[in-house]
Amino acid sequence: MSNKPMPLATPISAPFWNGLKEGRVQLQQCNSCQQWTFYPRRHCSHCLSHDLSWKEVSGAGTLYTFTVARIPTLPEFAGAEPQILAVVELEQGVRMNTTLVGLAPDDIRVGMAVKPVRARVSEDGTVLLRYTGADVDLVERDEVPKAPPAPAADAGPARTRIDVKDIDALKALVSDQFSDWSNQILVDQALIDDFARLSGDDYWIHTDPERARKEGPFGGTIAHGALVQVLMSRMQVPLSFEVTGFTNMVNYGSERLRFPSPVPAGSLLHSRVRVKSVEVLPRGTQMIMEFNIHVVGQDRPAVINDLVILYM
């Protein structure tokens, strides 16, 4: 699962999507006028006859047009490869909206021969029909979101050591600028279920994917805010400093904790931090660090936590 839009098959279109899952590209052909129809319909889009048959086709065609989306059409489409939108004209004459994969933008030409690539995009087996060059060695790929590898223990930039008594240096860390992003982690349904058991919060919007899809506002289950908040511990934020010279460091709680946007099951998370304030109080030196946890690609944070750290 991810929060990219997914096709929801209807009784009319199900043969198309089911065929893709089984490795076949199928189109409807009219038994009255012999013309082909796409997208799937109950009637022929040439003569309105209801006498259509599903036929397996190779899926091969030519590139009708394309564009490289330099700004992704949704944040979720940002990724390692460029988002290349395309229209393909199949040998049967129908056109499909799709995306090109396995091709560099400079190697793409309108009119070039293209062939289908089956892209598995969801744990439930949903396959999208992407395209690539006819001579590219690619017929299928797995695009289901996977847990990224944990970062190495010594990952991150070299840290400046700042003595806790050097208040000026600590105060100089206060900034509106956030750090770089941490490593990414995956929040899947299994993790959400584990947290539901541990916490006792098994409300259906977290634990019942079927009901959440039908009745919930988010098109599926979402992670508990409390779960996402504690996942901070799995994210290593590349801090540029390290405070030294204290006897004791205490997590004193939170000055502000907000869950501004939901985290759908299947999301990748990452986080970043800034030093919000540094104060010398009778009980010690207090640093407030604003942690923001985001779904990868989303501008709006999922968690804002102004964490209070006391150095004594």
Partner: protein
């Protein structure tokens, strides 16, 4: 067939385009009444003269159905003709000819055509993030069973930028492409915008290099070839010949129109580079008994530079494939030999949602009526107006003729 030229635009009002963040917030009903009062004042007519209403249905704030009845009640008028027009960027053009047709049928004498596009104030229980959610997929339906929800959105085909970019890319492969000519469309319009007091980009001139050096959004479209959304809104009064003679300015008679649509995604067009406007313009010119060469100005819907290029070709101002050369060889500013989008076009005036298309209608009327101020054309009797909705998927044309 068609109109006899017995109905005319007699008055117009248009909010100054503003950024959404700084524009006043008003209920849509309130804007309808305000714009109506301003347009009536421009026409020198009174509220009781209005007996017809064309209004937008989609994105109307206070209701999603029964919009005309609610608006008539709020205005305190009764009408013999009420129409919700849902044609995206060609809604304004669609409203004008429907109003003219209703008047020529004799069922009404003055039709208020109006689209409010300032934001309404948030209520105490409104969720501001709900709007962000609604905007997430642009103008696309996410309803179960909507073909685009199933076959476009999962592939990232959404919004307008990439659709127009793919049309431009196809055009480039078929006919060739001159980036500088495309940029010149935006540059010439920006020059005209300097003479419009309300244009959002007044005071900011533009060069071809500025356009070509601006950020590439979706190849081959640069950000300066794409309209900027603004808050705004507009109203136009269309009236019968009798009432037009009582109104205070020079009326612009509707002598021809055309409308054409057949798909939402241009991927399903017979030929992506032959736009629906070709058929609409043929109908409109034939109805008006006019040719492209008869036009004193062209107000061409311009959500993107490529929209303008294809509209010029398909309306017959130049041959297919000759658009880039035509743009380079002609001066498109209000001072030029081919005055086009003399208000700056939406690219430089601003695009107030579906009211953006009104900017072309209002400019055509103001040029004919002699109300165009510093950018007034010396002679302006006959004007071509186009509208484009969706991704070049629904298009309309008006031919307006000064009395």
């Amino acid at each position: 067939m068609g109109l006899k030229g017995q109905a005319a635009i007699v008055g117009a009002a248009q909010y100054k385009p503003e950024k959404y963040s700084t524009a006043p917030q008003m209920f849509h009903l309130e804007q309808v009444a305000d714009l109506a009062a301003r347009a009536l004042a421009d026409a020198g007519l009174k509220a009781s003269d209005i007996d017809g209403l064309c209004i937008n249905g989609p994105h109307f704030h206070e209701a999603s159905s029964f919009v005309p009845a609610m608006a008539a009640e709020y205005l305190g008028i009764g009408v013999n003709f009420a129409e919700v027009v849902d044609l995206g960027g060609t809604t304004a053009v669609g409203m004008i000819w429907r109003a003219a047709a209703a008047i020529e049928l004799g069922i009404c004498q003055a039709v208020l055509c109006v689209i409010p596009q300032r934001m309404a104030p948030f209520g105490p229980d409104d969720d501001p993030s709900a709007m962000a959610r609604a905007m997430r997929f642009g103008g696309h339906s996410t309803q179960y069973g909507a073909p685009e929800a199933e076959f476009d959105l999962p592939y990232g085909h959404m919004g307008q930028n990439t659709g127009y970019a793919m049309i431009a890319q196809r055009y480039a492969a078929q006919y060739g492409y001159d980036q500088s000519a495309m940029a010149k469309i935006a540059v010439d319009q920006r020059t005209s915008a300097q003479a419009h007091p309300d244009a959002i980009f007044r005071g900011q001139t533009l060069s071809i290099d500025d356009v070509l050096n601006s950020r590439m959004v979706a190849d081959p479209l640069h950000v300066l070839e794409i309209v900027m959304p603004v808050a705004g809104g507009a109203a136009v009064i269309v009236a019968s010949r009798e009432l037009a003679e009582r109104s205070k300015g020079r009326p612009a008679f509707v002598t021809g129109f055309g409308e054409r649509l057949g798909y939402k995604s241009p991927s399903y067009a017979q030929d992506m580079t032959e736009t629906p406007l070709a058929a609409a313009a043929r109908t409109a010119f034939a109805m008006a008994g006019a040719t492209p060469a008869d036009m004193h100005a062209a107000q061409v819907y311009d959500c993107y530079t490529i929209t303008v290029l294809l509209s010029l070709e398909d309306a017959g101002f130049c041959a297919k494939g000759e658009g880039m050369r035509f743009v380079m060889e002609n001066d498109l500013t209000f001072k030029g030999n081919f005055p086009m989008n003399t208000h700056g076009g939406q690219l430089s005036f601003g695009q107030a949602g579906s009211a953006g298309g009104f900017s072309q209608v209002v400019e055509a009327y103001q040029q004919i009526a002699g109300k165009a101020g510093d950018r007034q054309l010396r002679v302006c009797d006959q004007v071509f107006v186009s509208g484009t909705g969706g991704v070049m998927s629904e298009q309309g044309v008006l031919i307006l003729q000064g009395a």
